[in-house]
């Protein structure tokens, strides 16, 4: 392999690093109207009246729109395959506001100052309603967050708005209760995971204008341009063909941009005024009015024999989707489907629970997507079980975990929002990952703890994890390759590079097939007019799903080149091959360079443009695997947890670009560390966000992460392009459980709710004495 499995520099590296204008706000038309949104100060209220007369008088204000000016169409902001497994419960503007930050009015004006002034002058008369702020009390709550009749699911998802239930799910294999009776050891524990904010550094932005054909053009910082086009068309009742969505460079996404956010507001202004418009969310708005990770609660019961055979896994969950049900069912199902197959030798498994509405910032897609929440619960529970069995937690895992060539019934039963697909795990080097990780962290010498001083103890802990590679039978990608007259190629893809380097990775895949240097592939990605369809960059799908489409297109292109080359040489196609530079007769001297062939094809002989296209939809979703090891130092006087080392060993198949894969994992681990130790979305008693800036919402800085070390154990996934699986999400999954386990091993206290703050540790230490 010449071009893949090689750390090629990202194609856009220097452009990005040297600050070229590439993001949405850099590209917005200079005369764009500034759009801002008036947002609700109440967690739950009905708008009785809005008076915009004073605001409208301000010089420079172009338009102010309220729910009376916008078609009332229920949509979901979630950028998922269609029909979406998320309820259609969101309106561009509505007479109800369902969380602090919910949209009330759209204001557009010539500059920021006048718009800010207008926002202050809009008078809203509310009927304030009692909010639902505690997700454990949502189901029986007297307040109903979605009383309107238009809100509906697209198909059966266990939706029951009258009980504040956005979705529910239940499955059981075997008989959990019966099997538990037979177990020697049973443990039961309750876990909580918190809301987490994405904090992609480019705030959500969008700009729009009408082109010379009268079509609506939207430039947006989005992971899902094709879904944006469809949802905007639906919400404004305009044909899809009249909309074009362009995705420029993105300043991070992590799932937070797998949705529509600012697009409807600029579109509304442009449609109304005919003028260009732009919105750039403030950091406060990003925190208050985009998404968080779904907070979840899990009751985990594990049953085992005394020699450490895991017999039963029972997980009952409750998830908080906030004011709208975006990704409600799917994140919850993934909590099961991306953890339960890890231990595939059990006699009975149950996974069930509900996703409830509350008057909080909506939950949405976030790297790890349910899997990280349940991984914390299950992998903490495994250590609790190991302790009870008096067994090394690594040995307990090795005894029970999934191996190459095996399967799990979960694969078939649980998909994302519907049934899954049956599959055999054809690549799994989890055992090797664990062994390598133990060496790197020096488990033998450090487990469970080393006393550093009277008040400082170090401990190690670990967890394993799996993810998927795209959503089987749903996520579709396509690619077009075009031969240019100098022998270079244009690669057109709908896949969205969020900064991960996927444009480069996909070019590498095409280059490998075509036997040409990656620099010969010129990539254009994500413009709904120009590039072919792609469901978008989420669910760890780009390398696997889009990469596969690229490989297929490149193979087609290679065939076309051989065919045209044979014609040019005047010989039979079967006796001709292509080595990237020459099309040559296999047993003879006749040859022509690709460059020459391309020039002739376009200017003189047999004139035709060579274009190859291909689509791919995965029939399975092969999991990448990871073993994560944490070494922590705890100050028993203050409860402070200092992360000393984190080792992540990953099997993601072939790493198409080892450097970029490594940085993906490192970045994921650090986000996971943030979730484990610091990041917490906090509210006031009446539902206003307290953590609405980076002073109060703390993400890891470069001094907080100790030493993060990443290694790959290579495997070959036969269903993936050149043996590749995905790498986007898996890195984030292990830190919460591995760190919680390390803390337990160090000081003997178990923290079951995230984040693990010094207060919690200290409290637990005090009560354990």
């Amino acid at each position: 392999m010449k071009e893949v499995a090689k750390s090629i520099i990202k194609k856009d590296a220097l452009g990005l690093l040297l600050g070229k204008p590439v993001y949405t706000d850099d590209l917005a038309p200079k005369n764009a109207l500034i759009v801002k949104v008036l947002r609700s100060p109440h967690a739950f209220a009905k708008i009785k009246a809005i008076d915009i007369s004073e605001a409208e008088k301000i010089n420079g204000i172009e338009c102010i729109l309220t729910y009376k000016d916008i078609p009332r169409v229920p949509v979901t902001r979630a950028g998922q395959g269609y029909p979406e497994p998320s309820p259609h419960d969101w309106y561009i503007l509505d007479e109800y506001v369902r969380y602090v930050g919910d949209e009330i009015a759209i204001v557009a004006g010539n500059n920021e100052n006048v718009v800010n002034e207008a926002l202050k002058k809009i008078k809203v008369d509310y009927e304030v309603l009692e909010p639902v702020l505690d997700f454990e009390k949502a189901e029986e709550h007297p307040s109903i967050i979605h009383p309107e009749k238009e809100t509906h699911p697209m198909f059966e998802i266990g939706f029951n708005a009258s009980k504040n239930i956005a979705a529910s799910y239940e499955m059981e294999i075997g008989n959990v209760e019966e099997e538990l009776q037979k177990c020697d050891v049973v443990i039961k524990e309750r876990f909580y995971t918190q809301a987490q904010s994405h904090v992609a550094f480019e705030p959500h932005s969008a700009t729009s204008y009408i082109d010379m054909h009268g079509r609506l053009i939207i430039i947006s910082s989005t992971q899902v341009p094709f879904h944006v086009r469809r949802i905007i068309a639906e919400a404004f009742k305009i044909p899809i063909k009249n909309i074009r969505v362009i995705k420029p460079r993105l300043g991070g996404g992590f799932g937070g941009k797998q949705a529509i956010h600012g697009e409807p507001f600029v579109a509304a202004v442009t449609l109304k005024t005919g003028k260009p418009a732009k919105i750039v969310y403030t950091r406060q708005e990003v925190f208050e009015a985009t998404y968080t990770r779904h907070p979840m609660r899990f009751d985990v019961t594990l049953g085992a024999t005394k020699d450490g055979k895991l017999k039963v896994i029972d997980i009952q969950g409750l998830s908080d989707t906030g004011a709208y049900g975006e990704h409600a069912l799917t994140t919850f199902m993934v909590a099961g489907s991306k953890t339960l197959p890890l231990y595939n030798k059990v006699d009975a498994v149950r996974f069930k629970g509900k996703v409830v509405y509350t008057n909080r910032v909506p939950g949405g897609a976030f790297r790890g997507y349910g899997a990280i929440q349940a991984n914390f619960a299950l992998e903490s529970a495994m250590d609790i079980l190991a302790k009870k069995l008096n067994m090394d937690p690594v040995i307990l895992r090795k005894k029970n975990m999934i191996n190459e060539g095996e399967t799990s019934p979960i694969f078939k039963i649980m998909g994302e929002g519907r049934e899954g697909v049956d599959m055999i795990v054809r690549s799994c080097k989890l055992k090797e990952c664990i062994e390598e990780g133990m060496n790197l962290i020096d488990w033998k010498n450090k487990f469970p703890r080393i006393k550093i001083s009277d008040t400082k103890v170090r401990g190690v802990g670990m967890a394993i994890a799996m993810q998927g590679s795209g959503i089987a039978n749903i996520d579709m990608a396509s690619a077009i390759l075009k031969l240019n007259d100098d022998g270079s190629f244009n690669l057109l893809i709908g896949a969205t590079d969020l900064g991960t380097g996927s444009d480069t990775i996909l070019a590498q895949i095409a280059a490998e097939v075509l036997n040409t240097p990656t620099e010969n592939i010129i990539v254009y990605s994500s413009d709904t007019d120009l590039t072919p369809f792609d469901t978008g960059a989420y669910a760890s799908s780009t390398t696997y799903v889009s990469g596969h489409a690229v490989r297929l297109a490149a193979e087609k292109m290679k065939k076309m080149i051989i065919k045209e080359g044979a014609k040019k040489l005047g010989v039979d196609e079967k006796s001709v091959d292509f080595d990237g530079e020459f099309i040559y007769e296999i047993n003879n001297a006749k040859k022509v360079t690709l460059k020459e062939l391309a020039t002739v094809l376009y200017y003189t002989e047999n004139q035709k443009q060579l274009v190859a296209d291909a689509s791919f939809v995965g029939e399975e979703s092969p999991p990448p695997y990871m073993a994560g090891f944490a070494e922590v130092e705890i100050d028993t006087e203050t409860g402070k947890v200092k992360l000393i080392n984190y080792v992540g060993v990953v099997d993601c198949g072939t790493t198409i670009n080892p450097n970029l894969a490594k940085v993906q994992i490192e970045g994921g681990i650090v986000q996971g560390i943030g979730m484990a130790l610091f990041e917490d979305v906090k509210y006031t008693y009446n539902g206003k966000l307290l953590t609405n800036n980076l002073m109060h919402y703390k993400i890891p800085s470069r001094m907080d992460i100790g030493n993060v070390q990443v290694k790959f154990v290579e495997s070959y996934e036969p269903s993936g392009p050149f043996g590749a699986k995905s790498v986007g999400e898996i890195g984030i999954d292990t830190p919460p459980a591995a760190i919680a386990n390390a803390i337990y091993n160090a000081i003997g206290v178990r923290i079951t709710s995230l984040p693990i703050t010094p207060e919690k540790v200290l409290k637990a230490l005090k009560s354990s004495k």
């Binding site: 750390s7 520099i9 990202k10 856009d12 590296a13 220097l14 452009g15 990005l16 690093l17 040297l18 600050g19 070229k20 204008p21 590439v22 993001y23 850099d26 100052n113 994405h198 904090v199 992609a200 550094f201 480019e202 705030p203 460079r249 993105l250 300043g251 991070g252 992590f254 750039v280 403030t282 950091r283 406060q284 969020l498 900064g499 991960t500 380097g501 670009n657 450097n659 970029l660 490594k662 940085v663 490192e666 970045g667 994921g668 681990i669 650090v670 986000q671 800036n693 980076l694 002073m695 993400i699 800085s701 470069r702 001094m703 992460i705 993060v708 990443v710």
Partner: protein, 148 residues
């Protein structure tokens, strides 16, 4: 009102409102490497040099820099050397945080930093959400010629 300043070595006169923030004025005048990541001076992404010293341009009134010298990433020659090292490590993920980091690191280079530990402490205010920092550190180590 008008302000006079030297941006990247060139004399400029900008028309501003008294309440304008330096970051917005720079962007409006085409210095797109200057980007906003937060509203509170916490992320370091908008860092520029004011009379040679790093400042968060989101937290400085434009009126205050009348008569002063501003350097943005566009005006720093060594930027390409560090950018290339970062690219070789794959440390350019979304790239949104890179300009602020590069401006600050180049300032450190001139300050004779002795160890990576010291550099990290000085760069603590430059946040990044994509890379997990390690790849940045590998590149910065080479650039500064320091040991871990």
């Amino acid at each position: 009102m008008k302000i006079n300043l030297i941006v990247n070595g060139e004399k400029k006169i900008f028309e501003i409102e008294p309440s304008d923030i330096l970051l917005d004025v720079l962007r409006k005048n085409g210095y797109y490497s200057v980007r906003r990541g937060c509203d509170t001076g916490m992320c370091g992404i908008c860092t520029v040099l004011l009379d040679g010293k790093p400042v968060p341009s989101c937290s400085v009134y434009a009126a205050r820099v009348d008569g002063h010298e501003i350097t943005t990433l566009e005006g720093i020659k060594e930027a390409k050397e560090l950018a290339t090292l970062l690219a070789e490590e794959g440390a350019d993920q979304c790239g949104y945080c890179s300009p602020g980091l590069i401006v600050n690191t180049i300032y450190l280079k001139n300050k004779n930093i002795k160890s990576m530990e010291e550099a990290k402490v000085k760069l603590i205010g430059n946040l990044c959400r994509c890379t997990g920092y390690e790849s940045q550190h590998r590149a910065i180590e080479k650039f500064l010629g320091v040991k871990k």
